[in-house]
């Protein structure tokens, strides 16, 4: 049962993020249902676009702010300082992309680069540093078959996209700059998938504590990014009537929320350490419920 104190202070950030995400998703689902019940007589693409962009940018801003709070807890020389610095820079890239997208249009190359390959590369570097630290403590484990399979899907998707673009290029059709930028992010996404699977294995090895919940959220964020890319690529191949922008908005917010949960969980853990919850059940102390994030994670 939730109490008032569960939603007080910065340590309650994971709960607020999940609450906001839940409300937003429910509203989005309702909109899709109404649109479908009304027999597609009106377009909901335009209405959903600006609202979702605002939500996503706002979530990215919260993510950046929480990252900065976490970064303050890691002074120079701390093993995870560089990892958090890179994760913060990735969050900053998402904010810049969101703000610039609102100001100059989402199709601008700088916007696409900041929200695509740049933030993915920064994230990949950050997770690589995190994995190195975990390896030093003996928490890393080889990826399993399922991990290789999931990473394989990402690679397959990348190859399909590259093949499609190559076919168009060979046919003499002009390839827009945004497509090239999008393609540049795909190999990084493959690396991120592999890192996410390694991180998932580490979490399985370590357990689901207050610290590891943030990593679970990171794995979810990467998984959702890949799934979103795949969905947005697959849908136009099969249906021209589905509201693509609506689906895009429905996918982008959970991704932003998952990435925001990473520093939020870390902040919750840090605050739990410095301000122990008196008489609180430890399992509820400032963390997110892992079942909402990753159903296969062990308790």
């Amino acid at each position: 049962m939730m109490r008032k104190s569960d939603f007080e202070g910065i340590e309650s950030a994971p709960r607020w993020i999940l609450l906001f995400l839940g409300a937003n998703l429910a509203a989005g689902m309702l909109a899709v249902y109404v649109w479908h019940a009304a027999n597609l007589v009106f377009s909901i693409q335009a209405a959903s676009g600006s609202t979702s962009a605002l939500s996503v940018t706002g979530m990215a801003a919260v993510d950046l702010w929480l990252c900065l709070v976490v970064l303050r807890g890691f002074p120079a020389g701390a093993p995870l300082r560089s990892a958090w610095l890179l994760i913060t820079l990735a969050a900053a890239a998402r904010v810049v992309s969101g703000v610039m997208g609102s100001l100059s249009g989402s199709g601008a190359p700088a916007v696409l680069a900041a929200g695509g390959p740049i933030q993915l590369a920064l994230l990949a570097a950050g997770i690589f540093t995190l994995l190195r630290v975990l390896r030093r403590f003996g928490f890393c484990r080889e990826p399993g078959t399922a991990d290789w399979a999931v990473s394989g899907i990402a690679v397959l998707f990348t190859l399909c996209r590259l093949g499609e673009v190559a076919a168009e290029w060979l046919a003499g059709r002009p390839i827009p700059l945004e497509t090239w930028i999008s393609l540049a992010g795909l190999p990084i996404l493959c690396v991120l998938f592999l890192e996410a699977m390694l991180l998932r294995q580490s979490v399985v090895r370590i357990g689901n504590g207050l610290i590891t919940r943030g990593w679970v959220a990171l794995v979810c964020g990467i998984f959702l990014t890949g799934a979103g890319e795949l969905t947005l690529w697959v849908i136009p191949h099969y249906s021209q009537t589905l509201p693509l922008a609506m689906f895009g908005a429905l996918i982008r917010l959970p991704i932003a929320a998952a990435f925001a949960l990473v520093p939020a969980s870390q902040v919750a853990a840090q605050r739990r350490a410095t301000k122990p919850a008196n008489g609180q059940p430890e399992d509820l102390a400032g963390g997110t419920d892992h079942r909402l994030l990753w159903p296969v994670m062990p308790r």
Partner: protein, 179 residues
């Protein structure tokens, strides 16, 4: 007239008066029976005193041994209880921040409490940040006076690992004056 046994005992113990002693001396020089009686009393007295002293020494040794054993057992019990308490706290904190599997990964059979504590602090320091890890460590050692030394050792190690953070937290007095 022969002296009484009580008189001979008093003579033997040198507790008889000088007149009585003189009388007994005169009598003993003439009476063989009383000399024999005095010898018997003397022998019995010697035996009694020897057995009494040795008996007392045996009791003392046994008592001291028992006392020392009790003290050692008490001290060991205290140490074991303290170590067990520290281990339990470290385990619960690790479970809270990392998870149960992490505890089984970190704790080897027969691992000493201070070793587990040091490992936990190092990992929490890396993953949670030095300030938060220090708070967790204080929480783990809270109320355990005997663990103060371990805490100081860990603090020194933390300062060696993050000298800059320590300098920020505890600036030297000279710099405070300059400011």
């Amino acid at each position: 007239m022969h002296p009484s046994t009580a008189g001979l005992v008093a003579y033997c113990d040198a507790q008889a008066g000088s007149a009585r002693r003189r009388r007994i001396d005169n009598h003993l020089s003439r009476c063989q029976q009383c000399r024999g009686e005095l010898r018997r009393i003397q022998v019995e007295k010697d035996e009694l005193s020897i057995s009494g002293i040795s008996g007392a020494t045996g009791d003392l040794k046994t008592g001291l041994t028992e006392l020392l054993s009790s003290m050692v057992a008490w001290r060991d019990g205290q140490t074991v209880g303290l170590a067990s308490g520290v281990k339990n706290r470290v385990r619960s904190q690790l479970e809270l921040y990392m998870g149960s599997p992490a505890v089984s990964l970190m704790e080897r059979p027969g691992m000493r409490a201070e070793e587990l504590l040091a490992n936990a602090c190092e990992i929490l320091d890396a993953l949670l940040g030095p300030a938060a890890a220090e708070a967790v460590r204080d929480d783990m050692l809270g109320g355990l006076r005997c663990a103060r030394e371990a805490a100081e050792t860990l603090s020194r190690a933390a300062v060696e690992r993050h000298p800059r953070a320590a300098a920020d937290k505890h600036p030297p007095r000279g710099s405070e004056k300059h400011q």
